[in-house]
């Protein structure tokens, strides 16, 4: 089946290649949800590929405002107007002469311009011109037939609320339905898109985040923690930290393609341990990515240099990548997608997220947070990426608590870092709580972080950590 490429970032991927050609699509949403920008972005992208679009408004003064507003976006091109993107008014004919004449006028415009895409903005206004549901349904049916016969992919825009989507006749006739909506989540005003229907396309269902920026629309596909994703090959190789005692405690290192949680209080060295894991990897010729929500790339470079780990040449040749996202800007929907995008297509063997506690603070509910981490974890496992998630344990001297959100369930391995008091001295203690598939060391070992790196010391006899 032929597809109309939208050209919108990630949307064609969600649609399995694009919108089926000659389909009738409804773009619904409240005022301000981004409907007009969405269709305008599609028609300008297609205009650049030589396709002609006819954009018909139903409120006479809106066209001027629309063009003025669209000029702010990078996709807008003045030179395409009138040639590839043609604006017209359908509302006047419909209001003055009725639906039948409106259709005749539409056919006349189609014959004149032979467009590949027609947009009617808004269908809701047209609906209000009809005396009853039956007459409107007949009109939409004729409209749908007309567009397909003229090989036109159509977008009918409308200010519909979610509850209307299941009861109004136009949604039964439509081949595709895009519903755009927004909601407040923590500190973000977020925009979401759901494709409710797309005949002839195996699209990705569910809620996809989208943003409106200077480039137009950018979509971030929903992460899918689906059953099929659980099928992946288990590797038996080991990834070492390069800290002999710790690697020994882990029976030779972390199993390749597993997820490890490093949980600890502030200052216990979670970041340093994770950084050491990546540094060991790049020295072995592997590729690693450090996704930081806590410290900037410069701070991390400084820390590494201070410990004698010369990371600069690996950063310069791209073998090591440090990506910093400020926790203030952290939007889990967007960055979860970006995390996987960084791994896709690159032979990444080691990956760190520092810390997933920052992730949690930007997600509205704990279940969603767990779902995201689960989905990210599964995708990383499938790609055999050996991953470390660090997690902050806010209680400095608490009994062994991995995390408040039961994140230990998503991890194959769990390393605990914590403080203990010993003869009025605060010591750091490390223990391996879990190491799936390994006969790991069960002892609690004191450790220190010095200018030479991380040293694992003796076993502690009286840590009292399990009370």
């Amino acid at each position: 089946m032929e597809r109309l490429k939208t050209g919108i970032k990630n949307l064609d991927y969600i649609l399995g290649g694009g919108i089926p050609a000659y389909s009738l699509n409804i773009v619904s949403g409240s005022p301000g949800s981004g409907k007009t920008i969405f269709v305008q972005h599609i028609i300008f992208n297609n205009a650049r590929n030589g396709l002609k679009s006819l954009y018909l408004t139903t409120i006479s003064e809106s066209q001027l405002k629309m063009v003025r507003h669209l000029q702010e976006f990078a996709f807008f091109a003045d030179g395409l107007l009138g040639d590839r993107v043609i604006y017209g008014d359908l509302g006047t004919v419909l209001r003055k002469e009725g639906a039948s004449k409106g259709l005749d006028y539409l056919v006349q415009l189609i014959k004149e311009h032979l467009p590949s895409i027609v947009v009617i903005d808004s269908l809701k206004v047209i609906r209000d011109l009809f005396p009853d549901e039956k007459a409107f349904r007949a009109f939409v049916f004729e409209l749908a037939a007309l567009f397909s016969i003229w090989e036109i992919t159509a977008f009918l825009v409308g200010e519909y609320e979610e509850q209307e989507l299941t009861c109004l006749s136009e949604f039964a006739i439509a081949d595709g339905i895009f519903h755009l909506y927004g909601q407040e989540e923590k500190r973000f005003q977020k925009r979401y898109m759901r494709i409710l229907k797309m005949r002839g396309a195996s699209f990705q269902q569910g809620e996809h985040l989208f943003q409106i920026g200077p480039l137009g629309i950018e979509v971030y596909p929903r992460l899918r923690p689906e059953g099929e994703e659980l099928q992946y090959e288990v590797k038996r190789g080991r990834k070492k930290f390069g800290i002999p005692e710790l690697d020994e405690m882990l029976s030779g290192g972390l199993l390749e393609g597993t997820i490890t949680l490093i949980s600890g209080a502030t200052g216990t060295g979670k970041t340093i341990l994770a950084l050491k894991f990546l540094f060991e990897g790049v020295q072995r010729g592997e590729r690693g990515i450090f996704f930081s929500f806590e410290e900037s790339a410069l701070q991390l470079q400084h820390t590494a240099r201070h410990l004698g780990w010369e990371v600069d040449k690996y950063l310069a040749n791209g073998q090591l990548e440090i990506k910093f996202i400020s926790p203030i800007e952290l939007d889990v929907d967007k960055h979860a997608f970006e995390i996987l995008d960084m791994v896709r297509g690159k032979k990444v063997e080691r990956f760190v997220i520092d810390s997933i506690s920052s992730f949690e603070s930007s997600v509205s509910d704990v279940q969603k947070y767990r779902d995201y981490l689960w989905a990210i974890g599964q995708q990383l496992r499938r790609r055999h990426v050996t991953t470390i998630f660090t997690v902050l344990n806010e209680d400095l001297f608490s009994p062994l608590i991995v995390s408040r959100a039961q994140l230990s369930l998503i991890a194959d391995n769990t390393i605990i870092l914590r403080y203990v008091e010993d003869n009025s001295i605060i010591k750091k203690v490390l223990g391996i709580l879990k190491a799936r598939g390994s006969n790991h060391d069960k002892s609690l070992r004191e450790y220190e972080i010095t200018a030479e790196g991380i040293n694992i010391l003796n076993r502690l006899d009286k840590a009292d950590m399990l009370k």
Binding site: M1, E2, R3, L4, A21, Y22, L51, K111, L114, S116, F141, E142, A145, L146, S148, I149, W150, E151, T153
Partner: protein, 125 residues
């Protein structure tokens, strides 16, 4: 041998009716009527006489074209019908997919060898 232009018109009328019936099975009469309307418009840009083709949701008739031919036997009706049918099948191929269009084309091929070729591509979506 000895086939008159009237016989040829009847031949094309039979083809058009076959095409109409075969495509109505997939598109429905309403859409077929719209499709005929579209193709009439396109072909009329070259052959004005195609506008004499009578059609509605019950089918097509070439009676008016046949009558016009009696007045003006030099009308290039053969070219006109060949273009009409080729364009019709071409659009069908885009709408229904090549498999369905091929079935319709085969039926037409059984009625007239001039339609046994492949439908050609139209504008991209």
């Amino acid at each position: 041998m000895g086939e008159t232009i009237g016989d040829r018109i009847k031949h094309y009328e039979a083809l058009l009716r076959e095409m109409w019936a075969a495509s109505a099975k997939y598109l429905g009469a309403f859409s077929v009527n719209l499709l005929v309307e579209r193709v009439v418009w396109e072909v009329s840009l070259e052959y004005k006489e195609i506008e004499l083709l009578q059609y509605d949701q019950n089918g097509v008739s070439c009676a008016k074209i046949a009558a016009r031919l009696e007045e003006n036997p030099d009308l290039p009706v053969e070219d006109m019908f060949v273009k009409f049918i080729a364009r019709y099948v071409e659009i069908l191929a885009k709408l229904l997919g090549h498999e369905r269009a091929e079935e319709i084309r085969k039926k037409l091929g059984q009625l007239g060898e001039e339609f046994s070729g492949e439908p050609f591509a139209s504008r991209e979506a």
